[in-house]
Amino acid sequence: MAQAIPMTLDELLEEFDELQDWEERCDLLIDLGFELPPFPEEFRTDEHLVRGCQSLVWLVTNLVHQDGVDRVEILADSDAMIVRGLIAVLLAVFSGRTPQEILSTDVEKLFDRMGLNQHLSSTRRNGLHGMVRRIREFASAHAA
């Protein structure tokens, strides 16, 4: 179930910090989008569609018991490449974390640091927050 993540959070933040220009960051998102792991076709259903996105976004969350700890695994895909890049960011931030870790992550602060809140279009920002909400709801339901 566990999937390769294009970049860890630390690597990602380091890359974003090095790029001052939003256009370069946008190019990085596209690169990350191309590196996103393949999405299992059986999950490409209405049930997994995230509302609030202009592009199609499918998101699946699972709880995996590993070394005596419950961790949240995330699978996601989109038909838009920049959104796939944003999914890669979310995977770096959230995938493989415990529900408690997810709930205590200040994701807005991370998005601000990456310039996502400032530069994404409002529809994309809404879509991104829709995905975050989905993940946090899942974490909330499984937090001990």
Partner: protein, 471 residues
């Protein structure tokens, strides 16, 4: 009254109606608008002094406009952005404003602003006069019988709701039919759908051909003896399709139905003639016609005016109010409850003057030239699908998709090249369902667009295809 009028900026008040005040008889605004023959820049024989506001130009419609000169009149387009000039290809969403309109709004607020139809002091009287002049200019522009056909409203959306419920509630009964088309903007779809629910009437769709035109064959016609209303756009906001409103009006009238025309997209891009076309109700917005936001127009055929009931109640629209009941003023006042968008309604008249002076037919020809050029060049791009009919059957709008390139990604990449387009379902979800796509990229042309803009679009698409690894 005239002696009290401020004279400062007077040229912006009267131009272009009094262009003969200028030494060579040519208003600088008209000169810049390309009203002068391009190849004869100093042509002294051109007369630009129509005696009536909105009067016809003395130029033949075959003289091409000069879009570079027109562009100079749009301050927003004359800016330099960090990556160069803006290439504005989203006029179908909202057009930019020429300086004359911007100045007009400022002039009203600086020189004689007051509420309308209330104060009989000098400012109030001037405002009333300017509003009536604006009605007159708009009526002439639409080919309406008189300025009394024109009601100001907030925009196309409110106007269509006012017609749907102001006429529909008293004329549509259970089992009746309301006909719309699959290519309507939600503003001309949802009100009719909701009216049909409310009145237990049937909403019927006019069949569409594969290339996005209304199927006009008699056997495809959805109109029956039960049809009360046919609501149709004069030009599709997604496909650009220009619909045969005159023929549709005839067919509606044959069964005693009325035709309601959403002219939001058509009025800036081609001549409108409500009388010849037999249109009962026509609605459009100011902001797509180079005018301000917040103002729109309902144009009602005189013999339907009594039938159009108000759905918004308040000041100005009544003739008498008692504790028990109220009586309405005549149309158009009864549709104009509350304070009008005064400044905007006056400046809309200026925008219509501006368009009329250039000539809406000449603008249509200019835009058609750009459209045909763009369609030809875009069709060379691998994986390109342009939705809708050929250039000859449409106005200056084209919506497309490129295989492997999501419209949202494309829009972001085009923006990086200063090419401003629209993406999404363009408030026409029923149409997008028919097209089998959730979103498209839309390009639309207006008076100020040039062939360079088409070139910039093609170059920017190429850039997007490279960035998204399609090349």
């Amino acid at each position: 009254m005239n002696s009290h009028r401020p004279t400062r900026h007077d040229e912006s008040v009267h131009c272009p109606a009094q262009a003969n005040e200028y030494p060579d008889g040519i208003c600088p605004l008209q000169r810049a608008a390309g009203c002068i023959l391009q190849d004869e820049p100093n042509n002294p024989t051109v007369s630009l002094s129509p005696s009536q506001p909105g009067g016809p130009m003395n130029l033949s419609s075959s003289d091409p406009v000069n879009p570079h000169a027109i562009r100079q009149q749009f301050p927003v387009l004359c800016q330099q952005l960090p990556r160069g000039r803006p290439v504005f290809l989203d006029s179908a969403a909202s057009a930019q404003k020429p300086e004359v309109v911007i100045r007009r709004e400022r002039e009203v607020q600086e020189q004689y602003y007051a509420n309308a139809y209330r104060g009989r002091y000098q400012f109030g009287a001037r405002i009333d006069e300017e509003l009536e002049r604006s009605r007159q200019v708009i009526a002439r522009f639409l080919g309406a019988d008189s300025p009394e056909c024109i009601a100001f409203t907030a925009g196309t959306t409110l106007g269509l709701n006012q017609v749907a419920f102001g006429w529909g509630r008293s004329h549509v009964s259970e089992g009746d039919e309301v006909v719309v088309t699959p290519m309507e903007h939600h503003a001309n779809f949802v009100p009719w759908q909701q009216l049909a629910h409310e009145r237990r009437a049937r909403l019927k769709l006019w069949p569409m051909t594969d290339d996005g035109q209304l199927d006009m064959t008699p056997e495809a016609s959805p109109i029956t003896e039960r049809t009360r209303i046919v609501a149709v756009c004069a030009m599709s906001n997604v496909l650009g399709t220009v619909n045969p409103v005159r023929e549709i009006a005839q067919r509606a009238h044959d069964v005693g139905a009325v035709i309601v025309v959403d002219a939001a997209q058509s009025v800036p891009h081609g001549p409108t003639d409500v009388r010849s076309d037999g249109i009962d109700f026509l609605v459009f917005s100011g902001h797509k016609l180079y005018g301000p936001t917040g103002v729109g127009v309902i144009c009602c055929r005189p013999d339907r005016a009594e039938e159009l009931q108000p759905i918004v109640f308040g000041g100005h629209m009544i003739s008498r109010v008692t504790v028990e009941s109220s009586e309405w003023a005549d149309y158009p006042a009864r549709m104009e409850a509350g304070t009008l968008p005064i400044v905007q309604a006056i400046a809309l008249g200026t925008a219509v003057d501006w368009v009329t002076e250039i000539g809406v037919q000449r603008l249509a020809e200019h835009e058609h030239h750009l459209l045909a050029d763009a369609m030809e060049r875009l069709q060379q791009i691998p994986g390109m699908t342009i939705f809708g009919p050929s250039a000859d059957s449409r106005g200056a709008i084209l919506s497309f998709r490129i295989d492997g390139l999501h419209p949202e990604d494309l829009a972001a990449m085009l923006d990086r090249r200063n090419v401003f387009t629209r993406h999404g379902h363009h408030c026409a979800m029923v149409l997008h369902d028919r097209l089998g796509v959730s979103a498209t990229t839309r390009v639309s042309f207006a008076a100020y667009n040039t062939s360079d803009d088409v070139g910039a679009l093609v170059e920017a698409i190429d850039f997007a295809r490279q960035k998204l690894r399609l090349i």
